[in-house]
């Protein structure tokens, strides 16, 4: 367990945000932490979609149950949070 800062670049939001997460968090948990600061604040919810996370510029999303500590994501790396089909 270790505190791990990432940068959230949330689809349809206007700004990059600092989001503190934990190496034990799954990608779904990381996504929920990022969504907390954007959805319902400046980004309208999209109830029929799920939010997935990927590296900036990547095409593929990280698996939803993968733990942050198991990836090669660096602290303060910008991650894209994208509304995707459920």
């Amino acid at each position: 367990m270790a505190l791990f800062p990432i940068i959230s670049n949330f689809e349809r939001d206007f700004v990059l945000l600092l989001v503190p997460v934990d190496t034990e968090n799954t990608m779904d948990e990381v996504t929920a932490a990022a969504a907390h600061h954007s959805v319902g604040r400046r980004v309208a919810p999209q109830p029929n979609k799920v939010i997935r996370v990927r590296r900036q510029g990547a095409k593929d999303f990280f698996p939803r149950d993968k733990r942050l500590g198991e990836t090669d994501i660096r602290p303060m790396e910008a991650l894209e949070f994208i509304f995707a089909d459920a």
């Binding site: 800062p5 940068i7 670049n9 689809e11 349809r12 939001d13 206007f14 700004v15 990059l16 945000l17 600092l18 989001v19 503190p20 907390h36 600061h37 319902g40 604040r41 400046r42 980004v43 309208a44 900036q56 660096r74 303060m76 790396e77 910008a78």
Partner: protein
Amino acid sequence: MALLERHEWYDIARSTNWTPKYVSEDQLFPDVMTGAQGVPVEKWEVYDEPYKVSYPEYVRIQREKDAGAYSVKAALERSRIYENADPGWRSILKAHYGAIALGEYAAMSAEARMCRFGRAPGMRNMATFGMMDENRHAQIQLYFPHEYAPKDRQFDWAHKAYHTNEWAAIAARHTFDDLFMARSATEIAVMLTFAFETGFTNMQFLGLAADAAEAGDFTFASLISSIQTDESRHAQIGGPALQVLISNGRKAEAQKLVDIAIARAWRIFCILTGPSMDYNTPLQHRKQSFKEFMQEWIVGQFERSLIDLGLDLPWYWDKMIAEFEYQHHAYQMGLWFWRPTLWWNPAAGVTPECRAWLEDKYPGWNASFGQAWDVITDNLLNGRPELTAPETLPIVCNMSQIPICAIPGDGWNVKDYPLDYEGRLYHFNSEIDRWIFEQDPKRYRDHMTLVDRFLAGKIQPPDLMGALAYMSLAPGEMGDDAHGYAWVEAFKKAPPLAAE
């Protein structure tokens, strides 16, 4: 005996170069301080300032300017212009004074460096007047807001801002340190007087004086006009210095200085002037949009100055012009959303009428920025104001020290421009900001942004209250919506435009 005309004695009187006997030329004028770039002194002696003034003339004119501005202030002291002004206008005043007044003192130091280390006698002569100009600007822009400090504590930030770690103050200091506090005399001539002052401040002050008159604030209008006439004179120090550099084979070096300075000046003007013109200025007083202003003055006028001097347009010119469409809208959203971190109260500027104006001036605004404002407006309408308050920090650009932001909603184009340098990951708002860093990484690498400081544990407790304390924002100082959210009332009758 009749006095000589100025032109009969001026050239001889300001031929103040001499041959040093006790120290070497290099010791007297070290290149690190002159920035002469190896161009020999005799080549600098052809420097010919376009605006010539003698000391008695200068004193007489400045006395008249001061007398004019202070008389208008005294005459209008009881006129209740301040009380009757729109809160958006008061916010413009607060932001302006805090961001500019002490910057003028910094500019005075920079002019002093040109007085001492300018390689051309004409440059030293003009900079002497420029130094006194900047001293006057600092003092008058501290004296005028001082009258308002008892009425509103945020005006105390005219003097306080630069002494704090408030994020916009860090951004201003970082920019001005780079452009003129930590530069040689020649670099100052190019970066401060040519790029920053000719390109931006001189024209900005013209626009601001007109806006102040339009808003009925004749005290501020006369103050700003009085400053602008000084700027238009001493801003001319840079042009002849550029001519000397270019004609002596230093065009590439000169071009780089200009390119860095314009890019840095653009960021400051974008966040200070963009929201002022398009959001804080009451709708009925807006004469042109920020984009139209930039296209007229920067693209139409300044572009010609660059070409006339024999310079090229900066490599990023088209990218910068593209930013005229959106960057200041993103900055405005950041200023408003993180409003407790400001020393002024930002106006939202998004009533239904304002939004119609924004859509007209910036087609597509409703589908992009409007969608984000819809969510904010909806939260305020439905009793969820806590969702319009910040809970985390935005990522700050390692060059501009301003949050990294761009277009939300349908045109979403927000992106990090990262750089891995010596094992540290840096983040930039654009390719332009990252390019500046790459020109001289050692110069910039050790600076810590507000986010870096937060992660390093320098902000305690590590939450919003800790951050506000770190920024020296006391209760009664931190910003809130300029109109007390009254603008939301209009939406109780009609839904936000983008939602229709």
